[in-house]
Symmetry: C2
Subunit: 270 residues, 2 copies
């Protein structure tokens, strides 16, 4: 299988967030020849949207996605998602990633929480369409169902997309989805229309933390080329976004080293 096009690499800034703010991340990407970037909104707020837009443009980067909208089971979800759509529009982001939220606080009602998520997405979708910002539902690993996202499979996310129509799709993150026996089938179902983002990292054995122990591509057990083949087979030609939450390893390292390793692993492993 041919290596992916180096111009398709994107850096999700979570990967180096402990050491670099957004301004440094933008310059770092430019310095390392990484063409895509996916910022988080807290970092965007810290830098200021206007400055971020200017710096991203002047460095010739593309925003592969803005992290994140969602959390429809929390209190102020509507205003927060409106602002997220505006910011994604300002950045020219290829999508706004939705981490949809877990159980309604204080509740064990999983089906009810899922219904609320669906209603929340439906409520913000018209504004997203108007702003030209595609919404990307990111199914999160089932171990995050209670706390972060009660959408946990690609099939479930695509059922929501199909119910809601245009302007919405999915973020396919190998960390969250690699285990799913229906992954190939559902990526095919999603097709180019619905796959709005592709996130890469690796599943470590053993995994020591449910949130922040992701691996660099090649250090774990995910068969990355196989999944890439499915995603490309569905017609996806967008960025491959490296997103690594790693308290114990990658967040401790020099970000320049991390970016260098991302690049070389992207070329040889994924």
């Amino acid at each position: 299988m041919a290596a992916p096009d180096p111009a398709r690499l994107s850096l999700n800034t979570a990967t180096i967030r402990e050491k670099w703010g957004l301004a440094q991340a933008i310059e770092g990407c430019a310095r390392h020849g990484i063409r895509g970037i996916a910022p988080w909104r807290d970092q965007l707020a810290a830098m200021g949207v206007k400055d971020a837009v200017r710096s991203i443009k002047s460095n010739g980067l593309t925003v592969s996605g803005l992290c994140r909208g969602g959390f429809f089971t929390a209190k102020d979800w509507m205003d927060d998602n409106r602002r997220a759509i505006e910011e994604a529009h300002a950045l020219g982001a290829q999508c706004l990633v939705l981490v949809v939220g877990g159980l309604i606080p204080g509740s064990k009602d999983l089906p009810g929480s899922r219904e609320r998520v669906k209603e929340g997405i439906a409520a913000i979708l018209p504004e997203a369409r108007k702003a030209g910002v595609p919404l990307a539902i990111e199914p999160l690993h089932p171990m995050q169902a209670a706390e972060r996202a009660c959408v946990n499979t690609l099939e479930q996310a695509l059922d929501i997309c199909d119910a809601l129509g245009e302007g919405i799709g999915v973020a396919v993150d190998v960390y969250h989805l690699w285990w799913d026996p229906k992954l190939e089938q559902q990526i095919r179902r999603a097709g180019n229309k619905r796959v709005l983002a592709y996130h890469i990292s690796d599943w470590l054995v053993p995994t020591r933390d449910l949130l922040n122990d992701r691996g660099m591509m090649g250090d774990g057990v995910i068969e990355l080329p196989r999944i890439r083949g499915w995603v490309e087979g569905a017609g996806y030609t967008g960025f491959h976004e490296v997103e690594i939450f790693s308290e114990l390893n990658w967040w401790q390292r020099d970000p320049d080293e991390v970016l260098q390793i991302c690049k070389s692993r992207f070329a040889t492993i994924t």
Copy 2:
């Protein structure tokens, strides 16, 4: 919703394994009026199968399941599963629970590992049928896909059952399956014929360890009565087996206290 029949409570000995051997667990169940028990094979070997059979019978207990066969991706799986079937037969176990094994060692080939699991189950099924031992595939949480079981949803397990025919079903463990958007649908699909065991515990928020941080019923976020309703609705009338791996809490406690709490939570929470 009416409380479950107290006579349907079973103790999976993993719940108190740090403090009690099998002989103590059998006597403890009898003392607390718990009518079912599910031993692990290492404890069974330590006690001796004959002694265990004798003690379980004389205390009037039923073996709701033997833990475990499986690990078809490991080396000596065939002999080990033959012995497990013999032991389950000797105990009159209502099923032999199959923890099917994760990735083939040294491999990232998840579809290939799943194929090997299916072939392994097919290979032992005739002997299980001959011995009158139903095999219960236990889908494990996706976070265990690499290391312990590459069967991770009820749908996937039932597809295997349907391909293999009679004498095989599933163990429905709420800890592994509670997050699944298709759980209700697939329990209905399974029906009384395929649901061979029902395991209960709870999902803690936060969960601090991927293996050994399960909660007592009521301490987490699983809506146990709802899932029990689905299982009973499918026609299941067997035991409700408490299985709690808990390094940090329940394994540290006096097993008599643990059994007492299992009983009261079973009556009030599940």
